[in-house]
């Protein structure tokens, strides 16, 4: 076919040059005119050449419509209008405008050259192929979980064997509840039995219909209407990663209300998120037993009930990965059971972080954690292991030693761990002045160190860039985007991102604040693509320091021959470093 490409513009002709490239590649005959060619000259040329298509481009500008209309009139007067197809493209062009002006087709902003080529070659159906298809990924695929160095393996084996030996004759209210709950889910009426292992808040709810403060029931009518609303929402799949394969981008929700959560999730999906994490309220983690029903409340974190989880699940796109956190509270094993029953893809367990940040008693969480790992294996839920104790000031090597113990323990119990180092400007970094002139080296060092020890997926969070965010929207989005770019540069498996409201403590996170960071990340991924961020040589030095620190910590814990005592006694982080053994559930572990 023959084409005349005419930039009806004093300067801009990039789109036509791209089209020229592709048309020539396809062996079409093309005449590309320079900008600022007079219309009369174009008409004369077209009368001589008789092209199949005249393709006009025009960017925004005053009088653009009038000029385009005049060109069509001139083609008409010259007898060309019926002999050639005339197409217009440009930022401000819409299909409607093109038709109104008398053009055969119009292509506006966000049109790809593939769409235009498909149109001129009569392959409109090709557009379908251009649509993004998002697929659910298994983050753990391809990893062996091998511990590279025999010295590390010996230490990890020794510690994890000791843990398994220690827990084998112990149980807790959480374990008893999850056993009962499993039978209840099979249809047995065991609520009285279940309540024997619950706190008064839960007992009052079931026996006296009393709700905790600020909690409200979602009505059946609301639920029905919401279901209709969710089913009516349509979105085109969008991927943030441009040409990259990794990392997957996760957003943590937990507005307090499952309806609001679901809307935040839908918007996050629409703007390209690959996965979401369920964030539960802190009071729920400190209460024995879980509530039931569709429940909303006015504070951070959304209440874990099977009904709430099912509502969230019903709103998720089929490609969206869903992690339900179970890592730190008195309901850790039961949360995993409910997560699995509701259809979650992932969960989160870390006995060390969960018991050293003022949460659950170490003894209790060790017993519950091992049981939770067994459940994660049973229900095939890969689990991530956060090291957020770093935010309290615990040095990365000690936090990582704990993470690796839990990871190795998980592997022994046939579960699939995901390492989750913190990726930020942490207190450890600030106190020790590790990243003097960049925010890169120590984060890179963490990844180098972990990769040196174990072949496992790495998913930094939670979220990336934490503690560098401020209430300024631009700064927060930028910080998140740069950390995301660093993660992609290191080919990490996934990241959890912040919203630009992350540092705003006087109100709930808004959905617009989620879009801010998703947009910023897409730009960062596009900007860097396959290119990499280069750390300084300090990164390697820090990595070695971290590896040595992990080794020293593991050696001390192995020598102590008591994992739980190691937690209480500060081997995984001292009180001065910000590791405070939790008290919730203290004294509740029983022999069985």
């Amino acid at each position: 076919m023959k084409f005349v490409l005419f930039p009806l513009d004093p300067v801009h002709d990039v789109a036509l040059k791209m089209l020229n490239r592709e048309l020539v590649k396809r062996k079409h005959q093309v005449i590309l005119l320079p900008p600022d060619t007079k219309m009369e000259e174009v008409i004369e040329l077209c009368q001589r050449e008789m092209p199949d298509f005249i393709m006009v481009s025009r960017t925004v500008g005053y009088g653009a419509a009038e000029l385009l209309a005049r060109f069509i009139d001139m083609l008409d007067a010259a007898g060309l209008r019926d002999k050639c197809k005339v197409v217009v493209g440009g930022k401000a062009i819409t299909k409607e405008l093109a038709a109104e002006l008398g053009y055969d087709a119009g292509f506006g902003e966000r049109t790809s050259w593939e769409e235009v080529i498909a149109y001129v070659e009569g392959r409109q159906m090709e557009k379908e192929k251009l649509k993004v298809k998002k697929n659910k990924r298994d983050i753990t695929q391809g990893y062996t979980y091998r511990v590279h160095e025999p010295t590390f393996k010996q230490l990890l084996d020794k510690i994890t064997d000791q843990i398994l030996d220690w827990v084998k004759d112990k149980t807790s209210p959480a374990i008893e509840r999850v056993k009962i709950r499993e039978r209840m889910l099979e249809g047995e009426d065991l609520i009285e039995e279940y309540l024997k292992f619950c706190d008064e808040t839960v007992v009052s709810y079931f026996k006296k219909n009393l709700l905790p403060k600020k909690v409200r029931f979602i009505t059946r009518e609301e639920s029905k209407k919401f279901d209709q609303l969710i089913k009516s929402l349509k979105l085109d799949d969008r991927i943030l990663r441009h040409t990259l394969d990794k990392p997957l981008v996760f957003v943590q929700y937990g507005t307090g209300c499952p309806f609001m959560d679901a809307m935040h999730i839908k918007v996050s999906e629409a703007w390209g998120a690959d996965g979401v994490l369920h964030f539960d309220p802190s009071w729920g983690a400190r209460c024995e037993g879980l509530l039931e029903g569709l429940l909303a409340h006015e504070e951070d974190g959304s209440i874990i009930t099977l009904e709430n989880l099912k509502l969230i699940k019903s709103s998720l796109d089929v490609s969206t990965l869903w992690c339900v956190r179970a890592h730190r509270g008195l309901n850790t094993p039961e949360t995993i059971l409910l997560a699995a029953r509701a259809g979650a893809d992932l969960t989160k367990i870390n006995m060390v972080y969960g018991s050293l940040n003022g949460g659950t008693d170490p003894e209790r969480l060790t017993v519950d954690g091992v049981y939770a790992l067994k459940l994660a294996a049973k229900y095939n839920l890969p689990f991530d292991i956060p090291t957020n104790e770093e935010l309290g000031g615990v040095p990365a090597p000690k936090a990582f030693a704990g993470m690796l113990v839990v990871a190795h323990l998980g592997v022994k119990l046939n579960a699939k761990p995901i390492l989750k180092p913190l990726f930020c400007y942490s207190p450890d970094v600030m106190i020790n002045d590790y990243m003097k002139d960049n925010y890169i080296d120590y984060n890179v060092a963490k990844v180098i160190a972990l990769r040196q020890i174990m072949d496992a997926p790495i998913w930094p969070g939670e979220p990336i860039g934490f503690m560098t965010h401020t209430e300024d929207r631009i700064q927060s989005a930028m910080t998140t985007a740069l950390h995301a770019a660093l993660a992609s540069s290191l080919r990490l498996d996934a990241i959890t991102i912040a919203s630009t409201d992350e540092a705003y403590a006087r109100g709930a996170i808004t959905v617009s604040a989620r879009i801010d960071t998703l947009r910023a990340i897409a730009e960062a991924f596009r900007f860097f693509g396959q290119a990499k961020i280069e750390p300084t040589k300090r990164a390697e030095e820090y990595a070695q320091m971290i590896v040595n620190g992990i080794y020293e910590t593991l050696e001390k814990v192995a020598k102590r021959e008591d994992f739980v005592a190691s937690l209480y006694e500060g081997l995984f982080g001292t009180r001065e470093e910000g590791a405070n053994p939790g008290r919730a559930g203290r004294g509740t572990v029983r022999k069985c």
């Binding site: 209407k225 609303l229 507005t255 307090g256 209300c257 935040h264 006015e298 401020t470 300024d472 109100g507």
Partner: protein, 75 residues
Amino acid sequence: MIDKIIDALDVETTLLAKSEEEAKSVAIQYFKSLGFNDVDVVFIEHNGFAARVRLRAYIFRPGDKYVWVFGGDGK
């Protein structure tokens, strides 16, 4: 239209003001004069003679009864 807002309305602007406090006060007064009650300044940065400010009015908070669940007409 306001019934269709998922959670909050944010407005970003730059105000001429002698101090951060003055800018904050003016911004909140302005939003309240528009009929918004649940108002806050999410971010403010004053420099010399002007303040960049991000104002927020929550239309719906978590746990509210959302009009958008009922098709936008509140029924």
